[in-house]
Symmetry: C2
Subunit: 206 residues, 2 copies
C-alpha cells in the first residue's frame, strides 16, 4: 500500500539527500548551509530537520540506503546457495551502477570524482557513514542468523559474518578509490576480498 503520503515523503527524503551530496561535492562541506540544501530540495529549512538530524546524516543517507539493501539482497538468494557465495553476490548486487549515475554528463566527471573524494575526507562525514555501515551490518547479521539458523542473542557467529562481509566490501571500495587509473574493476576486487575472508585470511607465503 504505497499511499501518496509515503511516496511524497520518500521523494522529499531522496531530494534532500541528493541535494546535500551534490552541493557538498561541488562547494565543499562547510560552504554548504542547511538552508541551501533545503532550498535545492524545495522545502523549508525547518523541514530539513524533520528528515535528518544533521547535515552529515543527510549526506550519508544514500550510503545508508544502499548498505541496507545488502541484507535484503541476501534474503532473496536461494537458500541452498553456500553462505559466502550468497553474501558475495548480495554485495555485488549493490554495485551495478544505476541509470542516474550512467546518465551523468561526463564533461565534469573528473571534477565530480575529486569533489566526492574531498567530501569523503571530511571527518564529520566519516563518522556518519560509519554509523550507517554499522546499522546495515546489524541488519545483515539478522539476515545471516535467519539463513544459518543461528541465534543473534547467543552466537557471535552471525555478527562476525556480517562484520567480515561488510569489511570485505569496505576494503574493496577503499582499494578501488585509492588505485590509480585505470582502476581495477570493483567486481573483481569484491570477489577477491570475499574469497580471502572466507579462506580465513591465512598468512601469505614469504
Amino acid at each position: 500500500m504505497t499511499g501518496l503520503r509515503e511516496r511524497k515523503k520518500a521523494e522529499t527524503r531522496a531530494a534532500l539527500g541528493w541535494a546535500a551530496i551534490h552541493l557538498t561535492a561541488e562547494r565543499g562541506y562547510d560552504n554548504v548551509r542547511v538552508e541551501d540544501i533545503a532550498e535545492a530540495a524545495g522545502v523549508s529549512p525547518r523541514t530539513f530537520n524533520n528528515y535528518f538530524s544533521s547535515k552529515a546524516e543527510a549526506i550519508a543517507s544514500r550510503h545508508l540506503d544502499r548498505s541496507l539493501r545488502t541484507a535484503a539482497a541476501l534474503r532473496e538468494r536461494p537458500a541452498d546457495e553456500p553462505l559466502w557465495v550468497a553474501l558475495a553476490q548480495a554485495a555485488l548486487d549493490q554495485f551495478t551502477r544505476g541509470p542516474e549515475v550512467e546518465a551523468m554528463p561526463s564533461p565534469d566527471h573528473a571534477r565530480w570524482v575529486a569533489g566526492v573524494r574531498t567530501m569523503l575526507a571530511e571527518p564529520a562525514l566519516q563518522g556518519e557513514r560509519l554509523r550507517a555501515t554499522a546499522l546495515a551490518e546489524a541488519e545483515l547479521a539478522a539476515a545471516v542468523a535467519e539463513r544459518t539458523g543461528t541465534d543473534l542473542a547467543t552466537d557471535m557467529y552471525p555478527r562476525l559474518v556480517a562484520a567480515a562481509a561488510s569489511a570485505a566490501v569496505v576494503v574493496a571500495m577503499q582499494h578501488y578509490l585509492d588505485s590509480a587509473d585505470p582502476p581495477a574493476p570493483i567486481e573483481r576486487l569484491i570477489t577477491d576480498a570475499f574469497t580471502q575472508v572466507a579462506a580465513g585470511l591465512p598468512a601469505p607465503p614469504r
Copy 2:
C-alpha cells in the same frame, strides 16, 4: 625527550577526556556543556577546542588511544609467532583492566555501567567511536603489512586482516555488553571470535 610542555599537554588532554566521559555517564550527553568539561579539567572553555574539535571527540578519545595501542602491541609480538595468534594476543592485551578501573569504588558501580550504556547509545558518540576504530584499524593494517611483508598500496590483504581483527574485538565487546550477568569472560569471547575468523567463518552444520 619528555619536556614539561609535552607532559602538560598530555595531562590536559587526558583530564579533558576523562572529565567528558565521567560527566556524560553521570548526567547524560546533552546535560553536559563543553563549559562544564573545561571547568572540570581546570581549563578555559576555549582551550577545550584546542584539544578536541567536538564534545563527542573528547568522549571518544580514550577509546581512540586504547584502540591505537593494539597496533603497537602487535609490533611487539615475537616475529615467529603465527599471525593470528599474535593478533589475538595484541587485542587481549588491551583488556587487562588497569588500576584506575580496579580502584573505582563499587557502590555506584551499577549506576556507572548504566551510565556508560546510555552514553554508548548516543548517536553522535557512535559515529565518533567508529571513526576512532577506523583510524586504529589503519594503523593496525600498517603493522600487519610490515609483519607479513605485504604491501598496503597493492594488496588488500593487510587491510582485510586488520578489519577482520577489529571486527572480532568489536563483536566480542558487543556480546560482552549484551550478555546478561554473569557475563561470559571477555577473554574467552575474544579468543573465540578470533578463532572463528581465522577459520574463515564456515557455515555451521544445521
